[in-house]
């Protein structure tokens, strides 16, 4: 049915365009300069007047018919079944299956009547919707072409339609963000304040607690094991790994950006820049098993050969590989920023008798510094949110330690661990993942905000 509707939709939209186009030319008597808008705009205007009502009928009509059909079908069953949401949904599934002609194990008379009524309403309703759409489309064509005259401002009207489409598109992105934030905030609120959730920590216990063990909470009914939702070990683990990653990525990324932008010849640059950016394209899961299978064992082997005790999943291994992951961020963004420093500043410095490295240190880097800082902050927030590498290489043990050779865990790893598999969404353990997600979101939001402000300041720096 929807297919038929869409076909009619497409045909009417095209018809609308050509009708408007021809009508405009006819009104002008062939002299299109006499028209306010080009014939194409009259065509597009007519098309827009067809699209709007037909889209509304499509988006409202079919779901409405579906709902009505469901209601008429379910009314064949007793009231107590209709009141129970679970049974109601199960019955509805049976009805739809039977109406769709799929074989059923046991078919009662009641079910048969309901299915017949369902198909009936659905069939009639859908045809009514198609008819309404056809009517709306044809009506719109006549209405729009009727308005076309020499002075009719088709271009302005069509531009209003385009503007509405643009607004709608950006609204989708913004509303999605708001929706995600709202759901995280809601679940976090439940985690902290819903009295129905048992074994949950207080806010200060969560933010300042030094132990993390959601498994203990799961067994709380069996024994009297204390719940442990202390956030600090996860925060320390996350920061430890992120700092290791930054210690790798910032010097390497920045120095390679300096080499690429100021020292490398055009041929080296043409090869090296894309090669560096390929690193950004490696899926993090691949980097993750590289960390777990290559880097971690070599660190362990090397550490033990010089008499250090190294965990087989160490913060160092995860941090090093995460650092490799964010090198392209820093090098690519810094390279852009360094290239954006005006050539006139370089000329001014070289003409003073400054060497390349003096010019770099004293003029270009200070001028590019705000941009570089914002690149580093963006890379930092990216590292804080990274999951796959730490899942594979950092381990699950929530140790509160600053030792890079020990196993630690991160916020993202714990969220993933909590939410893998079947979950009940009314236990403190599951909701803890949302609280962690909220904190993570909040941290990266603040970092991004700082980066944005630094970039704004940067724009005022020269000129």
């Amino acid at each position: 049915m929807v297919t038929i509707y869409l076909t009619v939709f497409a045909i009417l939209a095209l018809t609308g365009f050509f009708a408007g186009h021809r009508r405009a030319i006819a009104v002008a008597g062939g002299n299109t300069r006499a028209l306010h808008s080009l014939p194409t705009y009259h065509g597009m205007y007519t098309l827009a007047t067809v699209v709007i009502p037909m889209l509304i009928v499509l988006l409202v009509g079919f779901p409405l018919v579906n709902m009505l059909a469901g209601q008429s079908a379910i009314s064949h069953f007793p009231a107590d079944l209709q009141a129970d949401a679970l049974k109601r949904a199960a019955t509805m599934r049976d009805i739809v299956n039977l109406a769709g002609g799929r074989s059923m194990a046991s078919v009662t008379g009641e079910l048969q009547r309901a299915a017949a009524s369902y198909s009936n309403v659905l069939n009639i309703g859908n045809w009514i919707v198609v008819g309404l759409g056809l009517l709306a489309g044809v009506g719109a064509i006549f209405l729009a072409t009727g308005r076309i005259s020499l002075t009719f401002r088709a271009r302005n009207n069509f531009e209003k339609f385009v503007l509405a489409v643009l607004i709608a598109c950006s609204a989708v992105a913004i509303l999605t963000t708001i929706g995600i934030v709202a759901s995280v905030v809601l679940e976090t609120y439940r985690f902290f304040f819903d009295p129905a959730i048992k074994g949950k920590p207080g806010i200060s216990e969560f933010l300042f607690g030094l132990d993390w063990n959601p498994q203990a909470a799961m067994r709380a009914e069996q024994g009297n094991i204390q719940t442990a939702y202390g956030f600090v070990p996860l925060l320390v683990g996350t920061l430890l790994i992120t700092l290791i990653a930054m210690a790798v990525a910032v010097p390497i990324g920045l120095l390679s950006a300096i080499y690429l932008s100021e020292y490398a010849g055009p041929r080296v640059r043409a090869f090296a820049k894309p090669a560096l950016e390929i690193l950004a394209g490696i899926p993090t899961v691949v980097l993750g098993f590289f960390a777990a299978l290559v880097i971690a064992p070599s660190i362990k082997g090397f550490g033990e050969s010089i008499g250090l005790s190294v965990a087989s999943e160490s913060a160092l291994a995860a941090g090093l590989v995460m650092g490799m992951m964010i090198i392209p961020f820093i090098s690519s963004l810094s390279d852009d920023v360094i290239n954006a420093v005006p050539q006139s500043l370089r000329d001014g410095s070289y003409a003073m008798g400054a060497t390349k490295s003096e010019t770099m240190k004293l003029v270009i880097l200070p001028a590019a510094l705000p941009g570089i800082v914002s690149a580093v902050i963006l890379a930092f927030s990216r590292a804080v949110g990274e999951t796959m590498i730490v899942v594979m290489a950092a381990g699950l043990a929530a140790n509160l330690t600053f030792n890079p050779l020990a196993a630690v865990t991160t916020i993202t790893v714990q969220i993933k661990t909590i939410l893998v598999g079947d979950q009940e969404f009314d236990s403190a353990k599951t909701l803890a993942a949302f609280a962690l997600g909220f904190v993570l979101f909040f941290v990266t939001l603040i970092l991004n905000y700082i980066a944005l402000r630094v970039v704004q300041k940067y724009r005022e720096q020269y000129d």
């Binding site: 010849g265 001014g348 410095s349 003409a351 008798g353 400054a354 060497t355 200070p366 001028a367 000129d463």
Partner: protein, 275 residues
Amino acid sequence: MTMEAATATLTAGNDRPVHSAPQGPIKIQARDVNVYYGDKHAIKHLDVDIPQHSVMAFIGPSGCGKSTFLRCINRMNDTIPICRVTGKIEIDRRDIYDPSLDVVQLRAHIGMVFQKPNPFPKSIYDNVAYGPKIHGLARTKSEIDAIVESSLRKAGLWEEVKDRLAESGTGLSGGQQQRLCIARAIAVSPDVILMDEPCSALDPIATAKVEELIDELKSNYTIIIVTHSMQQAARVSQRTAFFHLGTLVEEGPTDVIFSTPKDKRTNDYITGRFG
């Protein structure tokens, strides 16, 4: 061979009109200088003598090679990979394209002021102190302070900025920025100052100030100025060279060049018939 190239060959070197030779010692001497940008022959067989402690103006239509030659004198063309220079340019009888000469040393003795003011995005003080610091001209803070003050005074900017030396150089007006760039250039006590259309981005009042400054500076420095304004060349320079299509067409005392040019092309240009 095109017509232009043929003309260039004919007028190169000694074939061009002869004017009275410069008075006093020669600071910069160029002989048979050719500059190529890839395949483009940008300067053809250029010979010129530039006297010490005077102002020499380079005039000519856009793309005639006057800025290119200016940038040869402090080897700024080295930063352009496709650029190639042949011939000989001597400053104080020393060949500046001699491979044993360090370009950093050379540029430390030649100041340059650009078309668009390009102060560093640093404080006014740091802009002027930049050269002395990188060349180690001063050891103590008070020595640098003294250099900054005297350079800003010579550039005629001291009275305007002495209370806000810590503010950014980019916050000054266009004319002030250009005088700051001049102060920055003279802070390393150069012998030669190259100016590439220094007033083209300035208003008439700022231009007058910069011209006044050029006139004062010429007693201590050898100044070469590229300009599109013939009035400016006439006002500030002692000698003028006219460039056309990569060739130095005519060179001589400014008053002679502007009153009785010997080459037809010079005459056409200064009377506004082309360019």
